[in-house]
């Protein structure tokens, strides 16, 4: 897949010297979903806002569909849809007029059938004559998405689309994102929720302090950096770890009723066979065995705190 969005050495510094972006480079392929993870103030929104034209970059270049965002801003911006983090909507206008305005603003000719389709998919059709101020928070967020989709973008930025929404709406959003991906739209979303990135992203980027610390296939990232734990439950609790098992990296948990063995899936040998042999030799009887893969959240926390960076 060719890259639809190319970011090269992008920097943003403010007059007070604060560097919001420190040489960010990134290629995003057409049709993929990239999740940008990072703590507050990491530079996620700055990165999105710069690509969309809301913030002027200090240096570096960005192209969208081969069009430079500064020299050829019309062509570049007409490919982009943006769903901002804050619910920014004209409160006194109706849903229909608000969405129609967005399509016109992007220079697209009137297409009521398309807008109807978008509003129906987002469960907004029945609310089209309502004023924005009469809608619930979740509905307003859907209106923001409808506005961004109204001009048929090829690249869609979702800045924390599910911040502060209930579980049901979050699941709905994920379905909407999946449908958009199926229709060929490239999606870049920022999120605080690791489970969101885990559930819907193809690739995951981690931003901290204005730097893109890594971008990797989600599955690869988890496989590469993920640690696994093997929990061995015993039929009889033990007071202390038997001498024969001392050389294994083991923790005694559940009041001596279980052993936890941490291993790296990247290693050539996991050491599981040797461990289980030693456990049997030590005279311990197994009641049950289970493994746990570390979540993206564990990886993320590790990266940001510098443990695995």
């Amino acid at each position: 897949m060719p890259a639809i969005l190319t970011i090269r050495d992008l920097r943003k510094s403010y007059a007070d010297g604060f560097e919001a972006l420190k040489s960010v480079s990134l290629d995003i392929d057409e049709g993929e979903i990239l999740a940008l993870l990072g703590p507050n103030g990491a530079g996620k929104t700055t990165l999105i806002s710069t690509v969309c034209g809301i913030i002027t970059p200090t240096s570096g270049s960005v192209t969208v569909g081969g069009h430079d965002i500064l020299d050829d801003f019309r062509a570049a911006r007409s490919l982009i849809g943006l769903v901002p983090q804050e619910i920014n909507l004209e409160p006194f206008e109706t849903v229909w007029n608000t969405v129609r305005f967005s399509r016109g603003l992007f220079g697209k000719s009137r297409n009521d059938a398309l807008l109807e389709d978008i509003l129906r998919k987002l469960s907004l059709w029945d609310k089209r004559k309502n004023r924005i101020m009469e809608l619930s928070g979740g509905m307003k967020r859907r209106v923001l998405i409808a506005k961004a989709l109204s001009h048929e973008p090829r690249v869609l930025f979702l800045d924390e689309p599910t911040a502060g929404v209930d579980v049901e709406l979050r699941k709905d959003m994920w379905e909407i994102v999946a449908e958009l991906k199926a229709s060929g739209v490239t999606i870049i979303l920022t999120t605080h929720y690791i489970e969101e990135a885990e559930a819907i992203a193809d690739r995951v980027g981690v931003i901290a302090e204005g730097k893109l610390m890594l971008v990797e296939e989600k599955a690869q990232l988890m496989a590469r950096m993920g640690q696994k734990q093997l929990e061995v439950q015993l039929t009889e609790p033990v007071a202390a770890l038997p001498e024969a098992l001392a050389h294994h990296d083991l923790q005694l948990v559940n009041g001596g009723g279980a052993l936890v063995y941490t291993y790296d899936t990247r290693g050539e040998r996991t050491g599981i066979t040797a461990l289980l042999n030693d456990v049997a030799q030590a005279g311990l009887v197994l009641a049950d065995v289970q493994t746990r893969q570390s979540s993206l959240e564990d990886i993320f926390v590790g990266l940001v705190s510098g443990e695995t960076a």
Partner: protein, 253 residues
């Protein structure tokens, strides 16, 4: 030129106006009627004529200018300030539009609203007094240029304003006094000589004088100078707006 975008902004802004049409329509009619009652009937009955014109008719061009200027400023400044205030400006900044298209949409709508109110006041005034229009084309030109230039000024104020107080500051503290002291309700020839000279530093004098000339064929300052003043003011406002968008001042960080 992205005419679809200009049309979208224009329609969206006009919708705001039509939502409050009764208020938009009744408010200028009521205030004009009050001015006629106070200045035309109560005071005018003692003044009789100014430069050979009935006082009631004499104040009409000034009254129209007062409303047109304040309406153009307030509509344009609110039009661009409100998206900044509620955050919807993100969409304007990320849309494939340039500064000229944004300005045409917002200023065009604000100027249209001001023109509508100017026409309503003119119609209301003609119910109270006989109103000859000596130079109809010039009258239309002055009115259009005033709507446009003051809408441009309003747009600048809307970009500059950091809160609602600042939004009201210039219309209340600068424009209204300048209009009142610019010969709306008197001819500057009625002032003492020193004040006649000082008054010439008030740019609004040239607009009201030119506009009044279009009605009564009599002016305080040469008509050419009036046209030059309003033309120069328009160009200056456009230059400032061009600079604002070029530098991103107060809109793009």
């Amino acid at each position: 030129m992205n005419w679809t975008a200009i049309g979208a902004i224009y329609r969206f802004e006009m919708a705001r106006f039509f939502r409050t049409l009764t208020q938009s329509f009744l408010s200028p009619v009521l205030s004009t009627s009050l001015y006629f009652v106070v200045f035309g009937a109560a005071i005018g009955s003692r003044i009789d004529q100014v430069e050979g014109i009935d006082y009631g008719a004499f104040i009409v061009p000034g009254l129209i200018m007062l409303s047109v200027m304040t309406q153009a400023i307030s509509n344009a400044s609110f039009g661009i300030y409100f998206p900044k205030f509620i955050g919807t400006i993100y969409e304007l900044l990320s849309a494939p539009v340039n500064f000229l298209e944004i300005v045409l949409g917002y200023v065009g709508a604000a100027a249209t609203k001001a023109l509508f109110i100017g026409v309503v006041i003119l119609a209301t005034a003609s119910l109270f007094v006989d109103l000859p229009i000596a130079h109809p084309l010039a009258m239309v030109l002055f009115m259009l240029l005033t709507c446009l230039s003051f809408a441009l000024l309003g747009f600048i104020i809307g970009i500059w304003a950091g809160n609602f107080e600042q939004l009201q500051l210039i219309p209340l503290m600068v424009v209204t006094p300048l209009v009142f002291l610019g010969g709306s309700f008197y001819s500057i020839s009625m002032l003492p000589p020193i004040w006649q000279k000082i008054t010439l530093f008030n740019p609004v004098v040239y607009l009201i004088s030119g506009f009044r000339w279009a009605f009564f064929d009599t002016a305080d300052v040469p008509v050419g100078l009036s046209l030059l003043a309003i033309g120069g003011f328009t160009v200056a406002c456009i230059a400032v707006i061009w600079w604002i968008f070029k530098t991103g001042w107060r809109i793009r960080s």
